[in-house]
Every structure is written in C-alpha cells, then in structure tokens.
C-alpha cells in the first residue's frame, strides 16, 4: 500500500512482477536495473537458488527524485514462479499498488500462464486486493522464440480486463520500460483519482 510520508516528503509505492516460473520476471528487473541512471536506482537484491531461480523475491528500489517537493519512490518486486513457493508469492503481493503480469508466449506454457493468473487472483484476494481493479499491465514475453502463441490468442485468453499489454523480449529490453512506465502511470492516476 502506498505510503505518503509528510515528514520525509516522500511517496512510496510497490509494484510486483507476477507470472509463471521462467517467464522472465527477474530478467525484467535486471534490465531495468541496467538501464536506469544511477541517480534513480538503489541496490538490487536477488534472493535466488544456485540455478538463478528466484527463491523468495527480487527487489529493486527506484527513486525518481523530488517532484513538486515530494520524493517519489517505486519499489519493484518479483515473485518466485515455481510451484513450491506459493506461500512466498502470497507474502510478496501484500500491499501491492500495481502489477506487471509477465506471461511466457511459448505454446507449451499457456496452461502455466493461466494457472499463474488464477493463482494471482486468489492470492490478491487473500491480501484484501481485487484483481478486477488493481493497476495491472501484461507483458507477452519471449516473442523472439519460435513456437509462440499469436498475440491475439494471448489477448483473448489472458487479458480478461483489456489492460495495456506489451510484446516483450525481456533480455533485450523490448517491452520492459514501456510496461513499467505504464503501470507507474496507472498507480499514480489511481492515487490522484
């Protein structure tokens, strides 16, 4: 949940990257970390296994500096996609202000995308959040691979709310910054609304 700190003149929001295992959530955060100017980013933490799978979460704090006297900060998290970490996913979603759902475009990952989306709906509900109105964008990742589902099909199957979507090739940064920027705008608009 957004924290508005009048003492430090600071706004802090939380954005969570959600999606099935290996869909590219951590890759998104790493790219953002690499892309951002030093003045805008803090240290990134990745709590990962020896095989680089996320074990608990990744964390990247962004600080956009003072705007109209208020320091605006966004803290980015990823959840671990693997099945055994269901409790961890629930924990990380707590107090989320906005979500980037990273889907894997590969044909044989469609079922995983669906169950991850459903899992997210249930976990959000458990945290008192509603998948029908939380700021949300979707990224169709891995568009560079051969056996992928057409975008129309992904839209039809997964984009139940007609939220903004982005075709992604996360390790090249395609669709990464635009997805982040859009979800940030949505969060700020909701706060202002």
């Amino acid at each position: 949940m957004t924290m508005l700190n009048y003492a430090k003149k600071e706004i802090i929001c939380k954005i969570v990257y959600y999606g099935p295992g290996l869909s590219g959530k951590t890759t998104n955060l790493k790219f953002i970390y690499g892309k951002m100017d030093t003045q805008y980013k803090g240290k990134m933490i990745a709590i990962a296994t020896e095989t680089e799978r996320t074990l608990f979460f990744d964390f990247l704090p962004l600080d956009f500096g003072k705007i109209k006297g208020f320091t605006t900060k966004f803290q980015l998290y990823t959840v671990p996609g693997q099945a055994i970490y269901t409790n961890s996913r629930k924990l990380i979603l707590k107090g989320a202000d906005g979500i980037v759902f990273v889907a894997d475009s590969q044909i044989d990952r469609m079922d995983d995308n669906k169950s991850s989306l459903k899992d997210m709906a249930l976990n959000l509900r458990e945290q008192g959040l509603d998948i029908r109105n939380i700021p949300l964008v979707m990224q169709w990742n891995k568009r560079d691979l051969p056996n992928i589902v057409p975008v129309e099909k992904l839209e039809e199957t997964l984009n139940f709310r007609k939220v903004p979507t982005f075709e992604g090739v996360a390790h090249k940064g395609i669709g990464v910054m635009s997805a982040l920027k859009t979800v940030i705008k949505m969060v700020l608009n909701k706060l202002g609304g």
Binding site: M3, N5, Y6, A7, G42, G95, D130, T157
Partner: protein, 156 residues
C-alpha cells in the same frame, strides 16, 4: 486525493523516533527499525552509514513474513519469540499489531531478556501511531471477488 494510501504525519514520525531512540538507549541495542506491512521502511535509528536501511527493512520484512508463515504451518498462531543468532549480532523481531514490524539488532553480549522487555514496551507505545496511519481499511470481504466471480472473469 491520495486514495488508499497510508499517511504519516511529521509529528507522529517524531513520536515514533523518540520511542525507538529510547529503546536503543535503554536496551543497549545497535539498530532499531520500523517496517510497515508492505515492506516499506517507516523509520530507523541512526546507525552505521554503510548499512542501507531500505535493504535491511525489505529483508527483515521478508524474513518476518516467512517466519510467520512457518508458525502457521506448524500450527502456531505466531511465534512468541523470533530470534536469529549470528556470530556477532542477533536479531529480534516483533509484530506491531498487524500494521508493521519492530526489528531490533543487538550484540551477542547483550542479554536477550533486556531486549525482549524493552522491545515489548516499545511495541505497545508504537501501535497507536501505526494504526493511525492505516487511514483506509482493507476492502471488506463482500467487495472482493467470489470464487464464482473469478470463474466468470477468466471464462476458460
């Protein structure tokens, strides 16, 4: 304006700072942090500048969350004592109602009894301020989607 956000007023932050500074002096601990339930750092006592309090806040919040889940998994409502023993420093964590966490880092040589007693007192003193920040209650159950709503939503 700022729908659904938590609001922290300067005077409340001052009060909370006073409470944790006092805790630090009385219990002779090294660092105290207050982290909210979303993992955002609310405030911390002055400490070694090489320690990044935001990272420390995030890691302790994650750790506390995991610990609480563990408690539930073994059939405890919560752990009455959470203690991490290191080779130089120990960490003690306490829930502040369901609004946040108090994190106390102390040297191995400091008696745990002292830390526990003063931490507990501080939690009681801090609770009203954290509750006050929680301006908007979580969505009530009836506003959240039912199982049926979700089924209809995805329509698979």
């Amino acid at each position: 304006m700022f729908k659904g956000s938590k609001v922290l007023q300067p005077e409340d932050l001052n009060q909370m700072n006073n409470i944790i500074e006092k805790l630090k002096t009385q219990s002779k601990c090294l660092v105290v942090l207050i982290v909210d339930d979303s993992g955002h750092l609310i405030t911390n006592t002055e400490s070694d500048p090489s320690i990044d309090p935001i990272l420390l806040g995030t890691l302790t919040a994650g750790n506390f969350g995991a610990t609480n889940e563990l408690a539930k998994l073994i059939g405890e409502a919560e752990f009455t004592l959470v203690l991490h023993e290191g080779n130089k420093e120990n960490i003690h964590m306490l829930a502040i109602g369901d609004c946040g966490i108090l994190v106390v880092i102390f040297a191995n040589t400091t008696p745990i009894g002292l830390i526990r007693m003063y931490s507990q007192k501080s939690v009681t003193a801090l609770l009203p301020y954290l509750e006050k920040m929680q301006v908007e209650k979580k969505a009530s159950k009836k506003d959240l989607p039912s199982d049926e709503d979700l089924e209809n939503l995805f329509n698979w």
